[in-house]
Amino acid sequence: MAEMRGDTPIDISEDRSKGLLNDVERGLYDFIDEEREEDFYKVDEGLTEEIVRQISQEKHDPDWMLEFRLKSLRIYNELKVPNWGPPIDGLDMARIVTYVRSKTDMKASWEELPEDIKNAFEKLGIPQAEREQLAGVGAQYDSELVYHNVRKDVEEQGVVYTDMESALTGKYADMVREHFMKLVPPTDHKFAALHGAVWSGGSFVYVPPGTKVDIPLQSYFRLNAPGAGQFEHTLIIVDEGSDVHFIEGCSAPKYNVANLHAGCVELFVGKNAHLRYSTIENWSKNMYNLNTKRAICEEGGTIEWISGSFGSHESYLYPTSVLKGDGSHAEFTGITFAGKGQNLDTGARMVHLGKNTSSFIDTKSICKSGGISTYRSSVEIRKTAEGAKASVNCGSLMLDSISRSDTVPAMDIRTDKADVGHEAKIGRISDDAVFYMMSRGISEAEARAMIVSGFANPVSKELPLEYAAEMNNLIKLEMEMG
């Protein structure tokens, strides 16, 4: 127990990512594409009713949505900034541009995209990814989706995957209205309210009953404009007995001004349905990532969260699972890597309402070079959740003593007919393990990187191959940076 070793330090996915491991450069994520003023539409900095109306108009919102935005703005103005998380004094809302849109329409064909946007995504490997193994891709650039494509066979299954704007007015308008910010109401917290006021972009997915989508749907978000905010809304409804995997990736270049991401993800998992939601977040290190993700499961439904947090200056991220239906199930597998200048506050929340519901949390936190990583969670078992089972397992790996790692796991259990187990550990890389590996001819730096990758293995093994490779890249990158 004293020290932590990677379970399988040798399995550092060498075979998975041989090529990628060798030529990692931070530049891959930090490239800045100069946006030419005349090609982009922006609202003024800050947040006023005027700006909210302007966004609504620009987006051709239905009336109810304008009302919703204005109501959210009022709530935003009333709510206080959280007193418990990383300090967000550095974030000056008066200086955040809430809406930036390229003056290009959404394209379904990659070739039609403007060169600069295309280049940005090409560098991130988005279209290749799609060609190789994705059922559908949406790519958001700043505030709006610029590219959207769904594979024909998936479309023929009746799966709807579209941008939120089209969904608001299209065939599924009623369904969207019925679900939009019902799971995460604007009253939830200040940044949910902000989201409600200025949200833009994001995806809508509907999987009809009894449909199994074999290949993942993917969304990629990139925030390219300096001093901008991204507020995409993701709404996924998986109907009875269906099964789907959704992947989101996020990145942004680094500027000297703060950027803000306050997205919102709402997932509705129907009876006996199954949804896996994977995220690799690598926002640049000036990003305030105040993201809200929540899922609700009906009877027998399953939500699985896979979450890798590498980027951002500060993060508040706690995907929540509401286990409403009897026998519903949630799993959260997450890794957070806080390096220099980062304060990442991540975790999960599980709310058990239905009988015989179960939840598992398995997280790993790594901190280094003065980074602060906080694991924060709550497991709530209500009186109605007879037969509930919950288990939490969190490990923290500290790579030096100028960093900080905290574990703050709350539990609130209100029935005796529940089994709850919790285990947490904090430790460092074992000198013995490093020595052992070095004795076999591996350099110390390499050995340490391998151990960290091994520690992260429970998460990476849950990811599709190329995302696992990307994650290992990120770990290696973080390990190399001072």
Binding site: S378, D412, I413, A418, G421, E423, I426
Partner: protein
């Protein structure tokens, strides 16, 4: 006087809506200038060295290196409550309360190795409202076992508060025992702050069996190298009772070791809020912290909240905590039943085991026996009592 104090602050805040960040001690009482502690003859090697008012106490703390230094709080990184002199588990507002009520701190000095336990028995034989504050200074190499036993006459009611601070010099050893078996209409608080210099060993055994409402706070500051802490809390949450506690073990010295164990039972309609923190400060290299909470829940209308935290500022440490909450496991029940013990009896045996495990750490026949009776009574008050316990 009306008491409304914010106590048991979570060292690092979390979501306000979970209602964990602090507790409120509230009561409306009139304190009588009356001493309910039975006369105890102090053994050789221990003496009452003075009565300190607040200013004198602060002065004493500074002189003895027990003042709150910047590195002793999670400085500036997180929103924090106001730090106090000689930090305790319940926090600064308890000192305010004692000061407002005119309670002075009794300073005891221990400079010998005292073999037999010193026992302070507090007997509330009538409706009572009383508080006491003691400061125990154990000199280098000295040893003492102090038992504080709170008992009362069944049917009386009241408010009882105990504030204890312990300063252990290098190599000093102390076993502090607090056993609370007050009648059910009492409100009780117990606030503890401990400073441990190098190689000092502190053992803390707390048994919480009585009172309708209890607030417990304990803050162990392991300043010195190779200091050792062992803390055990055993409690029974009777129906309609409320228990709120905050245990913090702060590791500052190299190779300091801390072990905390919590064994609890919650009957139906009981509420418990617990905060347990292992706090590893920078430079506490090779420190080891281990904490376990094991709660047996016996009723479907209960509130059981736990927040076991690990805070880490130093990489070269090892910290572990584990929580298990639930009913009697099916495996255990099967084992018991296979020896002819039915479910109700098996449950009682498990309740008894949890309490007696802690009671067995107390070197005092009377308390051990009383703890057993207490479990008997807990079952006697219940409908399934077969009268055997009488």
């Amino acid at each position: 006087m009306e008491i409304r104090k914010k106590v048991n602050h979570l060292p690092v805040l979390t979501w306000n809506k979970l209602d964990f960040n602090e507790a409120t001690l509230s009561a409306d009482v009139t304190f009588a200038q009356k001493d309910y502690r039975k006369e105890t003859e102090l053994p050789e090697g221990m003496r009452l060295a003075g009565e300190l008012d607040r200013a004198a106490f602060v002065k004493w703390s500074k002189e003895h290196g027990c003042e709150t230094v910047p590195e002793a709080i999670v400085a500036g990184k997180f929103p924090m409550y106001a730090p106090e002199q000689f930090q305790t588990g319940m926090g600064a507002e308890i000192d305010d309360l004692l000061n407002d009520a005119g309670v002075k701190t009794l300073l005891y000095e221990v400079d010998g190795k005292i073999g037999t336990p010193v026992k302070f028995t507090y007997d509330y034989y009538e409706d009572a409202a009383a508080m006491e504050s003691v400061l125990i200074h154990v000199k280098a190499g000295a040893e003492v076992t102090l038992i504080q036993y709170f008992d009362g006459l069944e049917g009386t009611k009241g408010f009882v508060g105990s504030s204890t601070r312990v300063y252990l010099e290098k190599g000093a050893k102390m076993h502090l025992i607090k056993a609370q078996m007050l009648p059910k209409d009492f409100i009780f608080f117990d606030d503890l702050g401990v400073k441990q210099q190098a190689e000092a060993e502190f053992t803390f055994t707390q048994l919480e069996l009585g009172s309708r409402k209890a607030y417990l706070g304990a803050c162990f500051d392991q300043i010195g190298e190779a200091s050792v802490l062992r803390a055990d809390l055993g409690y029974i949450g009777m129906p309609e009772s409320f228990l709120d506690y905050n245990y913090v073990d702060t590791f500052r010295g190299k190779k300091s070791v801390g072990v905390m164990r919590f064994h609890g039972v919650l009957f139906d309609h009981a509420e418990k809020v617990s905060r347990e923190t292992l706090d590893f400060r920078q430079y506490c290299t090779d420190a080891e912290g281990d904490e376990e909470e094991d709660i047996l829940v016996l009723g479907d209308d209960i509130i059981n909240k736990a927040n076991p935290m690990i805070l880490g500022e130093e990489e070269k440490v090892s910290g572990h905590h584990a929580v298990s909450i639930g009913k009697l496991s099916p495996e255990m029940l099967f084992y018991m039943q296979s020896r002819g013990i039915d479910e109700a009896k098996a449950q009682e045996l498990m309740v008894r085991a949890r309490i007696m495990e802690v009671a067995a750490r107390i070197p005092d026949e009377e308390i051990y026996r009383q703890a057993g009776y207490y479990v008997d009574r807990a079952y006697c008050n219940r409908t399934d009592c077969n009268g055997l316990c009488k």
